[in-house]
Structures are given as C-alpha cells and as structure tokens.
C-alpha cells in the first residue's frame, strides 16, 4: 500500500513537471535616432523550448515597456504603425503628448510577439522624449530607459511556464478589448541600461530672455503706433 502511494506521488510529480516548461530567451536592444524622437529596436531570440514544443503549448509572448513621465508612446502613431508595419502594439493609459515631464504620468505599451516568426524576431517601439523643466546652467537632462518586461500567457489548462514570478493583468491582444493574466518571465538581457539625453533650457538665460522678449513685444507695438500716426489712410 505504501509503495503504491509513493508511485502515485512520483507519477503526479512527473505529469506536473511535464506541463511546466522552462523558457529561455534573450533580448538585445538598440536605440535609433537622436533628439526628441527615438526608436527602440529589440532583437528577441527564443532559445528554448524548441519551436514545435512552443507552438503546441499555445502560449504567447509580449514585451511590456513602461514609459516613465520623461517620455511618451504616441497612441496615434502606434495606430498607424499597427496598420502599416508588421507590428502589434497596444498603449495602456492616458497619454498627453503636450505636457512637460514634470506634469506627466507614466504609461505602458504592450508589444506583442508574433508566434509564427518565433526564433529570432525584431521588434520596434517609437518613443518621444518630453521637455523637462528648465534648470540653472541648462545642459542635458537624463531620461532613464527601463528594461522591457517579458510576459507570457498560456491559455491551455495544465500548461505553464516554470517559475513563481508575479502576474500582471494586461490586454490579451492588440485590440485591447479583453484582459488577460500575463506571467512575468526572466530573460537574458544582452544590453546595458540606457540613459537618454534631452536638451534642457538654461535658467541663466531667463533675465535676458525675459527683458528682451517683453521689450521687443512692446517695441513692436510702439513701432506700429508710430507708423499709424504718419501713414495715410
């Protein structure tokens, strides 16, 4: 009886371990363009499991990018990109594209990874840096670019990616209609952390800018009035 019980436990253990598979992936990252309009390029590579196993599992992957207040992902641009390019991106949260960094909030973008092309796949996400509050001596401000989070969801019962990492609720697909529970998966980051530089206004310029701007506005008005006083009607 005791031996039978041990056998059952071992059998159940083996069954469970078979439905949980290990995911091994690597991501490299590159930033394109300078200035306020950048593009993040990721090269995603699935090392394990093999493609056939992955296809059978029915699982899907996505990258979650958290845009901090110093930057934004422009939903209209993403809408066009989804239509024209072979990408699937969904932006979560309200994005005000006009506000400076200190008046903005963070938001998220889900970049869905196409299961058909799994192996090596390149992904892109255009981002825009916000104006930062002017400071004494001006120079450049730093915007820290967070690493993307790799997420996975497996809809089939009993199939799961190994590990006890936390779960995140997010859109199931690019339509954003339904919400799914995504599992945070670790990956190999083949890149360094990046800080983007953004030009900042110099508060030392304030006195001269204020005096000259306001005086010029007044001078323009006086000039016009002087012309009016002599011009023909």
């Amino acid at each position: 009886m005791y031996k039978l019980l041990v056998l059952i436990v071992i059998f159940v253990g083996i069954t469970v371990s078979e439905s949980c598979f290990k995911l091994d992936a690597s991501i490299s990252q590159k930033i394109e363009n300078e200035g306020f309009h950048r593009k993040i390029l990721w090269l995603f590579e699935l090392l394990a499991p093999k493609k056939e196993v992955w296809d059978e599992s029915g699982c899907t992957l996505s990258l979650l990018f958290q845009a901090n207040p110093g930057m934004y992902v422009y939903p209209d641009e993403i809408y066009d990109l989804n239509k024209k390019e072979n990408v699937s991106i969904y932006v979560v949260g309200d994005v005000n594209i006009e506000t400076p960094a200190h008046e903005s909030t963070s938001h998220k973008a889900f970049v869905f990874i196409d299961n058909n092309n799994l192996g090596k796949i390149s992904l892109q996400l255009p981002i825009h840096l916000r104006y930062q509050r002017a400071q004494i001596t001006g120079g450049y401000g730093k915007v820290y670019l967070r690493r993307p989070t790799l997420l996975a969801k497996c809809p089939k019962d009993g199939i799961e990616i190994c590990g006890n990492s936390k779960r995140i609720n997010g859109p199931c697909n690019v339509s954003g209609v339904e919400t799914c529970s995504w599992k945070n998966v670790t990956y190999q980051a083949l890149f360094e952390d990046v800080e983007l530089l953004v030009p900042i206004g110099d508060l030392d310029d304030y006195p001269i800018v204020a005096i000259f701007t306001l005086m010029l506005g007044c001078a323009g008005c006086i000039y016009m009035l002087s012309i009016l006083s002599t011009a023909s009607l």
Binding site: G35, V198, D202, D205
Partner: protein, 495 residues
C-alpha cells in the same frame, strides 16, 4: 515672357480657374491616397484622423470628445460622417470645395469693394486735393485695361475659346485676388491634407460678404457667431465689424497729410452719417469717441445675430456633450500653454517659466497688453473707414498671429485667407512684394535650422531657436509696417 504669361493667365475667365483649382485639388487628394498607402510618413494631416475618429463616435451615438485630442466644434465631426459611411477622403473633398468657395467669396468681396471705391472716386474726382504743387493720381479701376485687351486679342487667336470675356480692370483685380488663394500651394496643401481651417476662413469671409456686399447685418452676426463657435480666433474681429457699422463710420480715401478737421456741426454730430462722406479723418483717441461704443440698430442686429448663433450652438452642444465640449472647444484654446519650441516670440520665455511659481503678473500683462492695444487700434482705425474693413481684418490677423504665444505654420493660413481681399489697396511693386515674401520665408528657414538640431539631433539650441523666433517676429512686424505704409497710398505726381 513671365509678364505676358501672367497677363494671359489672369485674363482667363474665372470659372476656368475654378475648374483648374478643383482639378488640382482632386489630383492632390488622389496622390495623398496613394502616398498614404505606401509611404512611412503620411501625407494626411494628423488631425484628419482625429476628425474621422470623432465622426465614428458620433455615428455610434457617442460624443466626439471621446476621441483624444479632439478640440474642435462637434460640427466637424457631423460634417465628416460620410468619411465612415461613404469614403474616408470625403472630408478632404469637402475642405477642397470650401477652398473654392473661399476663392469665390474673395472675388465677390473684392469686386464689391472696388465698385464702391470707384463709385466714390468718380463722384469726388473734382474734389481731388492739391497740395504744394502735388496732386494725387487717382487710378480708375473700372476703365478698360488696354494692355490686357491687347494680350487678350493675341491670345484669343492663339488659344481659341480659352478666354471668353472682356474683363474690366476691376474684374482683373478681383480675379487676381482669387487666384492668389486658389493657386496658393499652402492653401492647396492644407485642404487636401485634411485640415479644416479653410472652413473657418470661409465663415470669416462669409461674415464679411454679408456685412459689406449684402448688408444683411443679422445674417452677418449669425455667420460671425458660427465662425467663433467653429474656431475661436474670429472673435478678435468683433470690434472691427462693430465699428464698421457705427454711425460714425465714414468713407475716406485720401492721404492723411491732407487731413482736415471736420468743421460743420453736421459732421461733428455725425448724425445720420451712415452714408456720410468725409474726405479725411485722423483716428486719435478723444473722450467723445467713447460714444462710438453706443450701438445703433445695425450694430444691435449684428450683435444679436452673433449671440443667437453662438448661444444656440453652445447650448445645444453643451446639452449633448456637457462640460467636456466647453473645455475642449473653448477653454482649452484660451488656457493652452504649449512649452515646446514653436515660431512664437514668447516660446522660450514660457518654457523657462513653466512650473516656476513666483512669476509676477507683470509678465502676463506685458505679453498680452501690446497685442491688445494693437488689436483695438486697428479695429477702430481701419474698422471705421468703410473702405478699409478688409485691411482691418488683415492687420488684426497678422497681429494676432505674430503675438500669439503658440505659433505654428498652420496659423499662417488665417492670414492667407484674408490677405487677398486688400491686395488691390496695397500699392507695392512686384519687386518689393517678392522681397517681403523672401524675408518672410528666409526668417522661417533660419528658424528651422536650430529647431532641426534641437528636435532631431538633440543639440541644446534653445537660445538660437529663440533668437530666430525674435527675428521672425521682427520680420512679421516689419512686413505689417510695410503693408500699412503702402496701404491706400496713391502715387504722387509732380505737377
């Protein structure tokens, strides 16, 4: 060669120009459809998609303001419903037809102004002033243009049926004004890319048409209210319209140097002066000028018309869409603070002080006060003269644009809509006109260089962008000054 071509071109019947203009716009719309399918940078304006999305919401019994960044009248969303039900280029076609209507309105207003002006000139020809051996050479614009007829005869032989009528000088002037709009690359691009500013321009011109050509003041008020509802900026024209209908308004065409103070009691009281002809008048503030603000019947018609359309539309859409409508359509445009770099003189100052709490009121006052003074002065000075209402609108628009705290290329269309109305009154040579245009474009180009390095190269060129904004402001003011100096100034011929 260019002169010959231009003479032939402007003597073509205006309906042919309308047809050409429509064809050109259709070509650009078709090109836009093709371009958007294949190019990564879209031809269509960003806002056009916003309008279409807002229309989709309206079609689904929702609010157009459910669409992010929709900050226009709900009317646009209603007008563009066929974008969803018919074809997504419908809005562009609508804006292009509005463009053509703008051209026709320009022609009608200029023709009316010339008719009024020539009639007045002919009536008072004998009263042409002579000062210290000089006389003003008055050009009668309704006489047949012999030079044009010569070209026309020649070109008739060459081109058969293309030229169909014998135009008077007035018609040529009116058609030239219309052509400046119809063939303006900026107006073509704006309409065919799907920007709605041509509708706002059409409403402003419709108000001027009702006010001057039809003299239907309540109707003019309705149009004015509609234009203010549609786009807030025509609100600045209100005082000029009001002054135009004042019983103190007058007809003056002469040089200010010949100014004579009206002496008769009749002139001073200015009662029943709607059609009074005062040769010259200098507009300098006096206490009795406060009486100008006391409304007469025509002014009341204008004001009630304006309030009727404005209140009806605002109440209706407030009832439908609530506070969101009020905020997005009106309040947002009043409180908007965009600190990102733009052509405005005030952009860098606003950016530096964004988020700084201890900025005194004096800064806001000094930003607003100069333009407010100019707007009032232009409204009164050029609004009171029956011949110069159009120029009042031009000067007000240029002032408004030059002094705006946010200034992008889109705002230039506000000037381009009304500028052709008074081209005939601005006496400058083609060379000077080209020089002015050159300065204006050069100032813009000079601004674009540091702006490019800032935006696309990430270089800290804020100070240089500001310096170029300063030079662009100076260019705008200098051009406005030049226009004023050459406005209604007739060539003096030594006797």
């Amino acid at each position: 060669m260019i002169g010959k071509f231009w003479n032939i071109f402007k003597n073509i019947h205006y309906l042919w120009h309308i047809i050409f203009a429509v064809i050109i716009r259709f070509c650009f719309i078709s090109y836009g459809l093709y371009h958007d399918q294949y190019a990564s940078v879209a031809y269509t304006d960003v806002d056009y998609k916003v309008f279409t999305d807002a229309s989709r919401h309206v079609l689904n019994y929702g609010s157009p303001y459910s669409r992010n960044t929709y900050r226009y009248s709900p009317l646009i969303a209603f007008f563009l419903i066929p974008n969803i039900t018919l074809h997504h280029a419908f809005g562009k076609v609508l804006f292009s037809f509005t463009d053509v209507i703008v051209g026709l309105l320009i022609r009608a207003i200029v023709l009316h102004s010339l008719k009024l002006y020539n009639g007045h000139k002919q009536k008072h020809e004998s009263k042409a002033p002579q000062v210290a051996g000089e006389t003003l050479k008055v050009e009668y614009l309704n006489k047949p243009n012999i030079k044009n007829i010569r070209y026309r005869k020649k070109s008739k032989r060459l081109e058969g049926q293309l030229i169909t009528t014998c135009k008077t000088e007035s018609e040529v002037q009116a058609d030239t004004s219309m052509l400046l709009w119809l063939y303006n690359p900026l107006s073509i691009a704006i309409a065919t890319r799907g920007n709605c500013d041509s509708i706002a321009g059409a409403l402003v011109l419709l108000t001027l048409y009702c006010l001057q050509c039809k003299q239907k003041y309540f109707l003019a008020g309705l149009c004015h209210g509609l234009s203010v509802h549609f786009r807030l900026y025509p609100l600045m024209y209100s005082l000029a319209f009001y002054m135009h209908l004042s019983k103190y308004s007058y007809y003056a065409t002469n040089n200010l140097f010949n100014y004579t103070e009206p002496k008769s009691k009749k002139q001073k009281d200015a009662k029943n002066a709607d059609n009074q002809i005062v040769e010259t008048r200098k507009t300098i503030f006096k206490k009795q000028y406060l009486m100008y603000l006391v409304p007469n019947t025509n002014q009341l018609r204008l004001v009630f018309g304006c309030l009727t359309s404005l209140v009806v539309l605002t109440s209706l859409f407030y009832y439908l869409y609530g506070y969101k409508f009020l905020y997005e359509t009106y309040i947002y445009h009043l409180v908007r603070k965009d600190t990102r770099h733009n052509f405005s003189l005030f952009f860098y100052l606003q950016y530096l002080t964004a988020g700084v709490k201890n900025i005194g009121m004096w800064q806001s006052v000094l930003i607003v006060l100069p333009q407010l003074i100019l707007l009032i002065v232009f409204s009164i000075r050029y609004g009171l003269n029956k011949f110069t209402l159009n120029f009042a609108i031009v000067t007000i628009t240029i002032t408004m644009v030059a002094y705006n705290t946010v200034l992008t290329s889109q705002y230039f269309i506000w000037i381009l809509v009304v500028l052709p109305l008074c081209i005939w009154q601005i006496k400058i040579t083609a060379g000077v006109a080209l020089f002015i245009m050159g300065i204006w474009f050069a100032a813009q180009a000079a601004w674009l260089v540091p702006a490019y390095f800032l935006e696309f190269q990430g270089k800290n060129t804020f100070l240089f962008v500001w310096l170029q904004s300063v030079s662009f402001f100076c260019a705008n003011i200098a051009i406005l000054g030049r226009l004023i100096m050459n406005f209604m100034s007739f060539r003096k011929v030594k006797m």
